[in-house]
Symmetry: C2
Subunit: 340 residues, 2 copies
Amino acid sequence: MDKKIKKVGGQTVKLEHPPRIISAFSIVGPKEGEGPLKEYFDEVLSDETCGKETYEKAESEMMYTAITQAIKRASLKETDIDYMFAGDLLNQIISSGFAARDLNIPFFGLYGACSTMAESLGLAALIMDGGFANNVVASTSSHFCAAERQFRFPLEYGSQRSKTAQWTVTGSGAMILGKEGTQFPKITYVTTGVVKDYGIMDANNMGAAMAPAAVDTLYKHFKDTGRTPKSYDVITTGDLGKVGKTISDKLILEYGYDIRENHVDCGDIIFDNEVQGTDSGGSGCGCSAVVTAGYIYKKMMRREIKSALVISTGALMSTTSSLQGESIPGIAHAVAIEMD
Amino acid sequence: MDKKIKKVGGQTVKLEHPPRIISAFSIVGPKEGEGPLKEYFDEVLSDETCGKETYEKAESEMMYTAITQAIKRASLKETDIDYMFAGDLLNQIISSGFAARDLNIPFFGLYGACSTMAESLGLAALIMDGGFANNVVASTSSHFCAAERQFRFPLEYGSQRSKTAQWTVTGSGAMILGKEGTQFPKITYVTTGVVKDYGIMDANNMGAAMAPAAVDTLYKHFKDTGRTPKSYDVITTGDLGKVGKTISDKLILEYGYDIRENHVDCGDIIFDNEVQGTDSGGSGCGCSAVVTAGYIYKKMMRREIKSALVISTGALMSTTSSLQGESIPGIAHAVAIEMD
């Protein structure tokens, strides 16, 4: 059998024709717009509803805005985009499906929980590198109010939150991949994760459930590529939150890699818990989406950082699986983004 | 900008190195095992629970079985499979996520409702053609009892069914793509769909909601490739059911293509409604999965048909979107499968 495939090691592809991220757009809710990263977001909503009658419709509208604005920034039209890779947390990914309804772009719907941003960006990069597209859009979204009532309790109940609970980010990020433009960051490696489950049962402690998956994908990425933590200016996991970040730093150290110096977690940096009361930090597909499309992308375009390893982490349970006594499987995908 | 991509027309890729479907496995519930296609399925469950304590766990177990048996039939090991593309109907695609937990294969989770089989097969084929993998598995599943309680009512309620309602198939199909073997069918074209919504509001009439999407993708496929209905021995839509099939035959005729002679609908042929009381026919991710991995694949391997255009159709609503008064967006993806 022909073994000449573009994989290096077991789980990583080195892209022969690294696609460029030629534009990005991030839109967030009011709370995110008051947080430490506020200056990096392109649009901050004045209220959670985005002018819509339900939170779910608001989430879909955010994604539609992120995608159309990202297309516009790239000086492209909808018809220039060959594929849309998108997903979200809502049942049957309605935010993405309804956003795609208003866009005439061939649509691949994805679900990887909070890992979906790296999943969509990774697949989009592979499709570009495979020669199937000139431009692809990758996007994800989440909404605090929609997620709370779907996964936990409707906000009206006023339930108390666990200290290990994470705060679902209201936001959406979109990135457009193109072939050219040395002024833009490029995607160089895609490491696709396997599912890891260490038996965590507490849906209010997803950081702990996802940490082993993040560490596994990190380890595979380093092993496959021969790179080390120092190869990157910043390693962003998301969304482990404070609890999961500490666990993952310790776990990866056992494999011989010290990421403590350049490791930030999207969930950890998007809110200021002291002021904002967000417990273990942000989560949701939208969290790594807006941190990557906002913070990381802008830092790169400003030449403040030159390389980032973006690892989005997802907890693959549902309310049904938790009620049925299942533990929480985690997954993480990594995408390396670098300036020339 | 370099326009030399592998797309022909707006939505179709012609594969330069068509991957082969080197094995397939289909597993179905007892009712499907009593239907017209029973001889084509590889395993028929003796009861709906698959030996598990919940229907959701049963569905996940079916997918695990389909994938592991397909791998075994290809004389491969789990470690030979570079990627797993899978999805299902359950919230947060837990059937796929939990099946992936027991498989050490890099996992891309997908959601395209009942279009997911063609979505997974299409993406798997692109990833093969792009040179990123030696072997990929594509799989989807659905389960009547799990879907009824999630989307409609728990079976215990004994609710009456609408005549236009479809019957979710209990089953899972998996196909392994490889690079070689002229004795196997190959994937030649992948046409990725856009979302279409003609304002159908009735979640018990999904065939009507999905028909315009099926017709749009069919039309784009013919237009992009220059092919006609006669290019294929069989055109399988799925899962439009009886109602949606009739609508789509009429709609595509308006575009100048007559598919009535060689068009079968997976949902229409999997049950015998006269005997089995399945109303408008089968549906669910598992329907086109088992019809493709069972019926179509075996027909090809027996040289009874030489070419098939598989179009899986999905209705992208959720119970939440329906309750919020949204209409039902549809999507369809097409994959051309041919013998040498």
